[in-house]
Symmetry: C2
Amino acid sequence: MNKKPRIVILGAGYGGMMTATRLQKSTAYRDAEITLVNKHNYHYQTTWLHEPAAGTMHHDRTRMKIDSVVDTNKINFVKDSVVEIKRDEKKVILEDGELDYDYLVIGLGSEPETFGIPGVEEHSFAIRSVNSVRLIREHIEYMFASYNKQDEKSDDVLTFVVAGAGFTGIEFVGELSERIPELCKEYDIDRELVKVYSVEAAPTALPGFDEELVEYAMNLLESRGVEFKINTPIKEVQDGRVLLADGEEIKAQTVIWTTGIRGNSIIENSGYETMRGRVKVESDLRVPGSDDTFIIGDCALIINEEINRPYPPTAQIAIQQSYTCSNNLKALIAGKTEMEEFKPDIKGTVASLGGKEAIGIVGERKLYGNSASAVKKIIDNRYLFLLGGMPLVLKKGKLKFF
Amino acid sequence: MNKKPRIVILGAGYGGMMTATRLQKSTAYRDAEITLVNKHNYHYQTTWLHEPAAGTMHHDRTRMKIDSVVDTNKINFVKDSVVEIKRDEKKVILEDGELDYDYLVIGLGSEPETFGIPGVEEHSFAIRSVNSVRLIREHIEYMFASYNKQDEKSDDVLTFVVAGAGFTGIEFVGELSERIPELCKEYDIDRELVKVYSVEAAPTALPGFDEELVEYAMNLLESRGVEFKINTPIKEVQDGRVLLADGEEIKAQTVIWTTGIRGNSIIENSGYETMRGRVKVESDLRVPGSDDTFIIGDCALIINEEINRPYPPTAQIAIQQSYTCSNNLKALIAGKTEMEEFKPDIKGTVASLGGKEAIGIVGERKLYGNSASAVKKIIDNRYLFLLGGMPLVLKKGKLKFF
């Protein structure tokens, strides 16, 4: 009797989680030994994290136990952290063990891109995980709680700098600007004392997005008291202040870093050829020269031929990749060699702005306000449906549309 | 026409607040110009503060707007901080002004007693005001939020030292031990990692209290995971650790200081003769040699002749003093010289232990558990009734008895 091939999936983010559940739904689990490895025993929705970070949603709504979605009778689950991939030995080194594989799926997710700017790692927060956003929420509340206890009242504790006005930055600022009036009430603080800066190096907020929608978003956020500093690179982050390239400095006890992401350093450290931590994968999502290894999600670099630039790493593309990846794995374990090509089908992009506000493009259509917000919720619920069907939508979905 | 005498009441704690409302209920406000001065525009219940500090009650339940209880058509209210009392000029210096008085009531409350132990002011929290307990609550949550974000997991952030096992210390530990399981759930932390130390220099917890009840309390709190270090003076508090006199050190990022109180330094700095900030008042509550000035509450030192020791400063005694004080003020503005003597009538003492648990003595009777807890709530509600009648009890009272 032949030994079953071993498929190891690293990371239970959008890509890894969907690959695992799709293999589970097919009969692939009968013909292969499939193992999912993740640092935590839960999966979380990275694209929702700006909400618990600002404190407008409880973090438990963004996560679910992996074994509530993955049937561990069909797919093995190992809770452990990946240290290194030894591609020549077809082995993954974990903190507390190791795993041999015949086929590997790398869905390890991203790391914050700091661009080497000094002080970012030491003095700023990243919207990255349940652990990190819980800390941001508590840090923000702590700042408000501190204010009235200061001997010399300093507004620095009420100044919040959000570095980067890309999607995450803008979505976070949207939530934060909704939360601040509540925090002011809770801690007896005059709203006027609180400052929120959205600082962006590029010449516009949401670079690359429709200009009309960007203007709508900026006007809305400004009306909630957000101050934009566009075209303003950050030179350094120090304890208690942010130094801007134009010589100005902002005194702030809170800096949230959202200037984009890079691939996972585990991949670089395992000897794969990367560009900012991402691997330019083949059209079938395999690593060039490693026919046994797929990379999906934030670590996969795929060029949009139309504009000759990489597709931005999103949940949408990671989910689509999981389809191709799981189909190709099924083919491989069935002994086939012909692989499906990955073709992204970008259906649109919607950014929430807090409360009932959002902006977005779906197909050719621009959306504002309530309707964009409703579409955003439909997108979020659709993912839950794909992952765990209607029960999961009812349990974790965004059901209050208006 | 004679000018009306001016009565100035400093501080809207238990004593000042009750004096003001009693003068308001009589017709005294017609015959005198009465002014209440307080740092905040709200009154709070100092004896409840261990609950919002631990996060088991919202701080707003412990406070009420002063003008919701005091009729500012009858009593002037000035929101300002007292800087100094110039007794020779019969004048109170405020941060933003000054007030002349004919009669003065000092109800300025207490300050934490640090016994000169190094590091207490810099590295510990006191359960003192709405502002301070809000910060304690947020600090505790921040510690839990930090734990899983540490690169090297250190238990120091989950170690809580409560210095002093007197009433406040024990009541706070009671609430904290109730809250910790909730925090562990919220932040994915194993309960076993959290340490709570109750450190007391005296040879027993709750010194002076009934031994049987003390044992009940300690057993209960130990069953909730509290570790007592009795007969253990603290030598120094440093950033991140507490040094004990026996040479041991406890690494802890959180120290709550509850080793008792002293009188307000404003009184010392204004040239009154004090013992640890408290003035030994005459039997009519006036300051020796200052017939125009009453001191009530935590700054008034009154000897219990039976045991030749001062009565402990409590809300109960402050409220009783407000009766004598307001009666004597009414007599003075009516031109009388005979003063009523203050006779404390200590009805009992109940300490809450969190949840539905408490211990207490009422009259000669010892109370435990549920019944003590119910009595504690009755006491709390009775104060609200005295202050603002049934409407205030309904608004701010503790109505869920069992």
